[in-house]
Each structure stands twice: as C-alpha cells, then as structure tokens.
C-alpha cells in the first residue's frame, strides 16, 4: 500500500462515526424491547411493535404530530423564500460599502447562541418591562403576555428564527448568483430588460438548481426541528402548541427514564423525516432534474 499513511489517518474519524453515529443506530433496537437496566439493551426482552402501538394510541400522538408539522410547515413557508429575496436584493447593489455592511450585519445574528437568542426573545416580550409591551403601551394598547399565549408561540419561533438565520442562508444564493454567466446579463441589457425583468428572467432561473437543493434539504429537516429553541421557549402556558415530538422524547425518555418508549417515538420521527426527504428528492428529480443524489 503506497498510501498507507492516509488510511492510518482516517482510522480515528471512522471510529468516531462507528461509535457515536452507527452504534446508536444499532441501539435503536431498544424501540422493540422492554428495556431493563440490569439486563442491558441486548438482554432485555423483545416486545415487537408494542412501544409504537402505545405511542399511536396515546392521546398525545395527534397533538404532537400536528404541532411538529405545523411549526415546521410555517417555518418552511415563511423562512424559505426570505433568504432568496434578500440575496436577490443584495445582488442588485453593485459592490461598495453598503453591500458589505448589509452582509456583515445580516450574517451576525447567526452566531448568537440559542440560549442567548431565547433570552433576548424573553426580554423583549416580557409581560411587564419587555420592549414590545412598552411599545404597545406607548401607542395606547394593552400589554400582551406573548409567551403565555399558545396562539403566538409559532409566530415567535418562526420570525425570531428568520431574524437569526436569513442573512446566513442568503449567502448560498449569493454564491449561486455570482456564478451566473455574465453574457446573459449582456444579452438582457441589449434586449432592454429592466432590473426587475433581469431578476425574473436571468437571476431566478439561474439559481433554480440551488433553490431546489436547499428546498429538499429543508424539507428533509422538517421533523428535525431545533429541539433546543422549542424547549427553551416552552412554558406551561404555551405547552398546547409548543410540545413537539423532540421535546416529548426528551421529557419522556431522559427525565422519566422511559427509554424504550422514547426511542420508539424518536425512531418514528427519524423515519418520517427520511421518507419525506426521499419523496421530495424524487419529486424534485422528476420535475426539475435537480436532486441531492
């Protein structure tokens, strides 16, 4: 072997993937067992699909599924187009300081941690002293306990997410825009296209492949909603809309030590996710000829 050193090099990373990524997949058999601490995962008795059945018959099942899908659907609908619009607008500004400034600023919130983000949300939306309520009172309106209203939970989650990540997500589209063949713009100019027409007929078609790929990836993440932020924003008042599958797995599994049941719920979540990803990828491949594999 001429390149034995390279193979030596990949051993530690491969061990990492085997131990912390693939071994847990094996451990997921827990979902089909009745976990017993003393007997361990492999010694515990098989129970077939009992844990799944328990979940499907659980009165929480539909609420959890509905909350998960509604929240991620909302996030997808609102959060997906905005970075595209942002990138198209930034792209219209030719060079200069303003462009760099807009990028620098819009990118920055991405680096704020989830804990800090939620802290900021809570400070701004606090019932008494929060900025939002002070502003409402200033205009003579009544205070709102934003985080205590189940109906507002999704909007708070989605729009704060857009605030935090839109600039970051726009960079990929900006890269795609930078890759468009300049002769197309020349041709558009000769044909007397306005800026708006140029966006419609050159820019947008040019970034469709990128848009499709990002869309597939986003749909593939529908069930893998950011557990951290939902969990931190959750409180007893908004729980009706804020309990999603991921937070349920955490509280049932780790807090109540109901390992087998929680694993089944988590596995169900991962499977739905995988099916969504494969489906969207297939549809996109057929319609637009773009896909991630």
């Amino acid at each position: 072997m001429k390149h034995w050193q390279l193979h030596l090099l990949v051993i530690p990373p491969i061990l990492f993937f085997l131990i912390f990524k693939y071994y847990p997949m094996l451990n997921a058999v827990l979902a089909f067992k009745d976990y017993n601490v003393i007997k361990g995962i492999w010694g515990s008795p098989w129970v077939g699909f009992k844990n799944f059945q328990l979940f499907f018959e659980n009165p929480m099942f539909w609420t959890l599924l509905k909350n998960t899908l509604k929240l991620s659907g909302y996030l997808l609908l609102a959060g997906f187009p905005i970075p595209i619009l942002l990138a198209l607008m930034i792209n219209e500004i030719r060079g200069g300081r303003f462009k760099r400034f807009v990028q620098l600023i819009s990118f920055a919130p991405y680096f704020i941690s989830t804990v800090v983000m939620v802290s900021i949300i809570m400070l701004f939306l606090a019932p008494r002293l929060g900025f939002a309520n002070i502003a409402l009172n200033f205009f003579g309106m009544d205070s709102i306990n934003f985080l205590g209203e189940p109906g507002m939970f999704r909007s708070i989650y989605v729009w704060s997410d857009i605030w935090q990540t839109a600039g970051y997500s726009a960079v990929i589209y900006l890269a795609a825009l930078a890759g468009i063949d300049p002769t197309l713009y020349e041709a558009a100019k000769v044909d007397g296209a306005s800026r708006f027409q140029k966006i419609r007929h050159v820019d947008l078609p040019g970034i469709v492949p990128t848009i499709v790929i990002i869309l597939i990836l986003n749909v593939g993440n529908v069930m893998a909603l950011g557990f951290e932020k939902v969990y931190l924003l959750q409180n007893p008042l908004n729980i009706a809309n804020s309990e999603i599958i991921a937070t349920y797995v955490y509280s049932i599994g780790l807090l109540n030590a109901n390992y087998s049941f929680a694993t089944a719920v988590g596995l169900f979540n991962s499977l739905i996710n995988l099916i969504l990803l494969v489906t969207v990828n297939g549809v996109a491949k057929r319609i637009t000829n773009n896909s991630i594999w």
Binding site: I19, N27, I105, W163, V171, I213, L277
Partner: protein
C-alpha cells in the same frame, strides 16, 4: 411614462430602474435596522443604570452609564466558573474537531484514495438518519463519559457538513501537480500534508476553527443531558438557569428587594453581552474568510 422615453441615452438607468433600486435600498436599510436594533438595545441596556433599565428609559443610547451589571457578574462564582469552563471546552473542542475533520476530509479529497466513495456515503448517511437521542445517550453512558468533560468534547466532535466543505476546498485548491512533484521527490503523505496542504489551506482552517469554536461556545444541549456536576457547567447552561429559569444567583440575596429586582433585570442584559462578546469580537475579522469558505464549499456540495 412618456418622460422615461425622453431621457437621453447617456443615462444608463431608466427611471423605472432607479425607483426599483431605491426601493431595494430602502428595504435593505430597514432590514439592517431590524437586525441591528435589538443588539444595540441590549448593549445599551447592559451599561445603563439598573433603575433606567427597569423604568424603560433606555431605548437607544445607554442612560446613566454604569458597569454595575458587569461588576456583579465578575463576583458571581457560577458565572466565572462557567466562563472558564466554556473557554476550556471551546479551545480543547475546537482543537479536537478541526484535527479530526482534516484527518478525514483530506484523504477523501484524494481521487486515488481507496474506498473513497463508500466512506463518503457512510458519513453522509449520518446526516439524514440517526439512532436518536436515547440510543446516543446510552452509548455515551456506556463509554463512561457521563458527567465528565469529555462528554462535551467527543460525542459531537465531527460535523459532516464541515467535512464536506473541507473536502471540496482541498479538492479545488490543492493542485494535483504539486502532489505528483512531491511524490517523485519521495515525499510521504504525512509530510505532504504538513508542508504543502496545511500552509495552502489557511482560509478553510479559519472557517473550521470559527465554526467549531462558535458551535462549542454556544452549545448547551450536550451539557444539559450529559453533565450533572455544577462545577463542569459551561456558560450557556449557567445563562439558562439565570435568565430563562429566573434563578437569581446567591450573590444578590443580601441586597434590598427593589434594588435586587432592578439589578436582576440589568444582569440579564449584561449576561447576554458577556456571553456573546467573544464571538462578536472575532466575527468581523474572520467573516471574509468565512464567506469565502462557504462559497467554496457550496460550489461542489
């Protein structure tokens, strides 16, 4: 629209285009304000007097500048321990993660590497399917990592996305001719990595360091599930207990009720600033590299 037609040809932009562009400038300015305002508000609040913060007097500039919040934070043991812990996790974690990422990304970038495609599939599969929270927790438990510092450094050490970005970078920026030339000279692969690849890869190293460092500095979930001893807690976990769960720290108990309440409000702003400061200070310097690296990575996903 007759006026538009009458505009002399030497002016490039038509009236419609100029209006369109102006609208874009206005929208982008509003976007920038919407993003930057909350940040300014928090910084201003953190250096205002407690009374000014609680009475809602601060809305843009700091009012009655005072650094009381920060001085209280400095004297709070949980926060200083958390800060030191976070510094440790960030330094050690970044070192481990970047090393491991390069160890797999570079071989994967070599076209002749045996098993390249299979290995690539093995690692990308983990992006779309995972065993889940509980099975992973069980593995960490089995390895006796629970309640040790290793739990925050090892189980999430490699991010597949970073491997993909680094691999694309190596593929597109290390000319194959260099490798051929050095092979003729009898240079080993290790030596080639050390003296050719790494010196040529500063932009991607900057990106990896930044992403992993920010990830470590900001992470709290692993600490939440894997750690039990308070002396190991990173800053984010301390932050959560003080701001989100409203557990005021012991240091403040001795103060008068009103003052304490005002101060605890102010403390939240100071804490946010303190927890975010390191990232925001480095960010403008590395942002350029970062955008570059992301662009390189996204060209060949």
């Amino acid at each position: 629209m007759a006026a538009t037609a009458a505009v002399p040809k030497k002016i490039k932009e038509s009236a419609g285009d100029r209006i369109f562009l102006t609208v874009i400038y206005i929208i982008l300015t509003l976007v920038v304000i919407a993003i930057i305002y909350p940040l300014i508000f928090i910084i201003s609040s953190s250096i205002s007097s407690p009374a000014a913060v609680t009475s809602g007097k601060v809305w843009l500039y700091p009012v009655d500048i005072s650094f009381k919040g920060f001085s209280v934070l400095l004297k709070t043991p949980e926060i200083t321990t958390g800060y030191l812990n976070s510094l440790f996790y960030t330094t050690a974690g970044t070192l481990i993660s970047v090393t491991l990422t390069i160890m797999i990304a570079y071989p994967l970038s070599r076209r002749t590497f045996f098993g390249r495609n299979a290995l690539m599939m093995v690692i990308t599969f983990t992006m779309i399917f995972s065993g889940g929270l509980i099975p992973t927790y069980m593995v960490v438990k089995e390895m006796h990592l629970i309640d040790t510092r290793w739990a925050l450094l090892i189980p999430n050490a490699i991010w597949v996305w970073q491997v993909i970005i680094a691999r694309s970078f190596f593929q597109s920026s290390i000319p194959e001719e260099l490798l051929e030339a050095s092979e003729i000279d009898g240079c080993s692969d290790m030596r080639f990595i050390r003296s050719v690849v790494l010196p040529l890869s500063k932009p991607i190293l900057a990106v990896l360091v930044l992403m992993y460092a920010v990830g470590q500095w900001n992470s709290y979930f692993d600490a939440l599930i894997y750690l039990k001893s308070a002396n190991l807690f990173p800053l984010q976990l301390v932050l959560r207990s003080i701001i989100i769960m409203n557990n005021s720290s012991g240091n403040m108990d001795a103060m008068a009720m009103v003052e304490r309440q005002q101060l605890s409000e102010l403390l939240k702003y100071s804490l946010i600033v303190v927890a975010t400061l390191p990232v925001l200070i480095i960010y403008p310097f590395v942002q350029r590299y970062f955008v570059q690296g992301m662009l390189v990575g996204s060209v060949k996903g």
